[in-house]
Amino acid sequence: MNEFLEPFERMLEALSPPATVRAIEAGGSAAALWDGIAESGFLDALVPEDCGGAGLPLSEIGPLWQALGRHAVPLPVGETMLARTLLAAAPAAPAAPAGPIALAVADPGTAIVVPFGGVAHHVLLESGSQLYLVEADGEPTGVPGSLAARMRWDAPGGVSVGAAPPGGLRAVAAILRAALIAGAADRLTTMTAAYANERVQFGKPIGKQQALQQQMAVMAEDMVACRIAAQLGCAGGLPPSLAAAATAKSITSTAAPRLAATAHAIHGAIGISAEYDLQLYTRRLHEWRLADGSETYWNRLLGAARLGDARGSVDYVREMLA
């Protein structure tokens, strides 16, 4: 068991309860939450020790990212951990700013949706294989409750950071997104199983219905597959291999809508209501599925690599995912 996970999870339970998540989603200030997380020191957990960080390997960071998903944390904490690590590693880069940093990959003049762009102060932007640190300046997406923002850069601007990591920032962001999905999936599965044991219809808890049990079992399978996929994504460190990033995001993005659908099906109408917590997680699953490349985006890249490789499939996954 990861020794950092428990204190991290305890901190999130205290700092980011559903009421806080809702308040920030409604436009309230995220300053207190951000300060609490920043003070914990976890933002530099991935930064190498000789750059002043804790130097944890990515495989130990992955569980923390999953915890962020499990708590629907309404700030780009994982993104900031990554951005601070990339900034620390770049010789010519500026010092990391104190506030939350989102990640984006965009061609000049193309408007994109940036996850957590509405609550970030800065964006680490990849444009033309170069990284830039720019101030976050976007427009709301107009999606209720969403913390993302639409952004467009006609020219990158900001401060030049240096070359993008090999394989690109999108691959790095994809494994973070996979871990967030895995964490939210874990919370959804637990919530849904608990609800199925409580909700009584036809004189017994609905969890006794075989039809429902079969759906819940599939949900558990997807949830565990997401966790293992996220772990595979993080296992090889930074920068991730194409196979690691693609596998992590493909599996989690494919499972995300199924997980959300089952959670809602079992909760019935109350799951659709704003006041019930389920939607905090299902909305995120859908948003994160679409972010940093969907399943087909990554399947195409992985498939192209696989078709160009003469090994057998077992050897391919064995040697490429390690």
Binding site: Q210, L301, L302, L307, S313, V314
Partner: protein, 383 residues
């Protein structure tokens, strides 16, 4: 939830045996047509099984004093992965090595261990498992075939069906009722080792839809067995079977049943040079799923290696794995037939249809999808 299923890796010492088992597997598989290799599970080749035994690849997890090699479940994972990955014929020794040997080791007495285990490890004797009956499929606790005490041992009467490998096997480990009736459910069931050559045993092969005769009906008519046919405790058969199923359900065989077909399809795509976006996406999807399923299977193997009996976790991996195995022939069939102007090799076509036809069995053998999902639901606290 299910936090124990977490990424694990194969220890280097177990990875180290890969080249040797791969070379041996290639001797049986490399010259075979794709459809023959796709039959891997059903490929009966006792001479190959004996070669595996001689080379030290059977009974890997058994103690050395019983002819084993004192390796862990990870070593067995590597061996099975290589055999199935290449499509080597494994049917002869399959059940004995996977289930019967661990069962005899865990629940058998010393004489039974010494009698059976070294011969299993040498690839000399083959086992089948007698569970299903005409009236007992998924409802295994309803078995009716009886073993009654006699002055010298046991007398067995009844019938088993769908027993894989029975026509070729030396022994069956059967789940039998030794007291009470079907209404007693799990109570009163015991496991007995039945020498299939003794009088009163009749084996009638059942031809399957692919033309193979791998399973059979087995009839018992006043079959007299010695007292030491009982394996483990009388009346504890259900508990023993449940433990055995963790071995049966967790291995890499639950993800690789269609992998020979997958590789043949990818080789076809490379051969015809088809590399468009839709094809890439299909190949990428299959690759990602295979990669994660393999990691899940290794995670489950790690629980076995830790001395646990991961019944729920194994069910979870098996259900997801067999769904993948079943979807592959569907998507590959659609892919090939949506390009009707491409030439498809004769053995690839036969392999596609073979896997397509037998794929329903993937989620029947070793516990049906519905049973497994019931086990998972109980593991989630639903009941």
């Amino acid at each position: 939830m299910f936090d124990t299923l977490s990424l694990a890796s194969l220890p280097p010492a177990d990875e180290a045996i890969r080249p040797a088992i791969r070379a041996l597997a290639a001797t049986a598989a490399s010259a075979a047509d794709t459809d023959e290799r796709a039959r891997s599970w059903q490929g009966y080749d006792p001479a190959f099984s004996r070669r595996l035994g001689e080379a030290g690849f059977l009974g890997l997890t058994l103690p050395k004093r019983y002819g084993g090699h004192e390796r862990g479940p990870f070593a067995r994972f590597v061996v099975v992965e290589e055999l199935l990955g290449l499509g080597a014929p494994v049917a002869a020794h399959w059940i004995a090595d996977r289930q019967s040997a661990p069962l005899i080791l865990n629940f058998g007495n010393e004489a039974q261990r010494q009698s059976y285990l070294p011969r299993i490890a040498r690839g000399e004797i083959f086992f089948c498992i007698g569970m299903s009956e005409p009236g007992s499929g998924s409802d295994l606790a309803s078995v009716r075939t009886r073993a009654d005490r006699t002055e010298t041992g046991w007398r067995v009467n009844g019938q088993k069906i769908w027993t894989s490998g029975a026509p070729h096997c030396d022994y069956m480990i059967a789940l039998l009722r030794t007291s009470g009736g079907p209404d007693d459910r799990h109570a009163g069931l015991s496991q007995l080792i039945i020498d299939l050559k003794v009088p009163g045993v009749t084996i009638r092969p059942i031809r399957d839809l692919a033309g193979d005769e791998h399973f059979a009906e087995v009839f018992f008519e006043d079959v007299d067995l010695p007292a030491d046919a009982l394996i483990g405790e009388e009346g504890e058969g259900w508990k023993q079977v449940t433990a055995e199923l963790a071995f049966e359900r967790s291995g890499p065989e639950r993800i690789y049943s269609s992998v020979v077909l997958l590789d043949a399809w990818i080789a076809h795509l490379r051969g015809v040079g088809r590399d468009d976006a839709a094809t890439r996406a299909l190949v990428g999807d299959a690759t990602a799923r295979l990669g994660v399923l393999r990691a899940m299977s290794i995670a489950c193997t790690a629980r076995l290696a830790a001395g646990e009996s991961p019944v729920t976790e194994a069910s979870l991996v098996k259900d997801l794995g067999t769904a993948f195995e079943q979807q592959l022939p569907v998507l590959i069939g659609d892919d090939l037939a949506s390009h009707p102007d491409e030439a498809v090799a004769a053995d690839l076509y036969r392999a596609l249809l073979y896997v397509t036809h037998v794929a329903p069995s993937f989620s029947l053998r070793g516990g049906t999808r519905e049973i497994l999902r019931g086990i998972i639901a109980r593991g989630m606290g639903l009941r």
